[in-house]
Symmetry: C2
């Protein structure tokens, strides 16, 4: 197995970091890797904020309820960004372009391309022996986060990427069986038995692991999470407030 497949195969999220900042070379290599990701129509519709100000990191950590943001060796925020594509246009063109970019199609494209860049960054960091964790919880800091980072319309912070020298080596969580994820020519309409078997496997994993033991199946966690009314409309309002009408 080549070195790339090995690095990918060894992935686990790291949430405990040694108190060692990343070097400038490491940061550059991670950003360069992100920029080399494929991108729809060469749009490159993402931006990366490197949060080096300790006060700002602390504020984001508190609002996101995630200490890794403060404790990691370097903290990146990956944003979907359709703002830059409009800068060379005149005001009237910008208005029409903005109307087109506000469709959900471009929102989807920007999120997808930002994630391709993010995963390149992630794999690049891991290839240098660093640990990483992607932090979705930064949306808990919205809309204030937008002001702190000075993000204009059509720029949305999606997730954080905390990187650092690992201070733990957690077990790997078993993935869904390949046969429940990968299908030849046609989606399998009868996945329930496979999911139930995986639920058992995950329940055993959670019961046996060293840290954070719990009694839960894979499906059980989502039923517990989603079988109530979640206040998620606010997130859509936020997305719309940034210019993405999702028409």
């Amino acid at each position: 197995m080549n070195e790339v497949l090995q690095v990918i195969r060894q992935h686990r999220s790291i949430r405990k970091f040694k108190n060692i900042p990343l070097t400038g070379e490491q940061v550059d290599a991670i950003v360069d890797a992100a920029q080399m990701a494929p991108t729809s129509a060469h749009m490159q519709p993402f931006s990366i904020i490197g949060v080096t100000d300790q006060g700002l990191r602390k504020k984001i950590a508190v609002h996101s309820k995630n200490p890794s943001i403060e404790e990691c060796g370097y903290f990146f925020i990956f944003c979907a960004d359709l703002h830059r594509m409009m800068l060379a246009a005149g005001p009237e063109q910008q208005e029409k372009m903005g109307r087109n970019l506000s469709f959900s199609y471009f929102y989807q494209t920007a999120v997808l391309c930002a994630a391709l860049a993010l995963q390149n960054a992630n794999v690049a960091a891991e290839s240098m022996g660093l640990g990483t964790v992607i932090i979705g919880g930064i949306n808990e800091a919205l809309p204030a986060l937008d002001e702190w980072l000075g993000l204009p319309d059509f720029v949305i912070p999606l997730v954080g990427l905390a990187v650092g020298v690992p201070d733990e080596l957690p077990e790997q969580k078993p993935r869904l069986p390949r046969s429940a994820v990968f299908f030849e020519n046609r989606y399998d309409p009868d996945l329930k038995a496979k999911v139930e078997k995986y639920d058992q496997e995950i329940e055993e994993y959670y019961g046996a692991r060293t840290n954070n033991k719990q009694k839960a199946s894979w499906s059980g966690k989502f039923i517990a999470m989603l079988d109530k009314d979640l206040p998620l409309g606010g997130y859509t309002e936020y997305v719309k407030s940034k210019g993405f009408d999702l028409k």
Copy 2:
């Protein structure tokens, strides 16, 4: 520079393939890599369809206006998938869960996680000496594609990934300058000069490259693409028809 950074650094999209199918081992390594990507709350909200039926590939290629789909060594379709998470729930729970999952927050999360898996697949393929191209044009085959692949509600085909033995080595397209994408602590409100400089660089690149010479700047392409009324509402209607209300 380690092997991982080298593979990432050497990326270019490959659209011409030798007539050599992928081996089963190559396909497995690519899918395994996709499954090892990080994922929000261990949701793994994506599915991968391997399209091996030549008639089906031809149909998708024609509708997507993209011959690589038919000519590559193997053709994957990456889907956002929130369907599998609900299978173990009872009908009433599923209804409530579906309401929560229909928010744009979960749509964004599923697209983002599917793209993380996609980029792992992409890098894995490239590490084995294969060439790849991500094909957004499969959405031109919607909604028929959904029927051909048997995709249920909450499963949306996002992009294709054509993989094969490269039969070309195109030049690499220059990326945006790092200083126009990566910011320390705060977004740069004054990017216009950097974009204009990059526009010149891209115009020179398009004018000088061996194949498909053209006179166009980076911004100029987007102004030409977006300074008219695009019929993109149909894509949102499709997304909503699959259960994602984007409330």
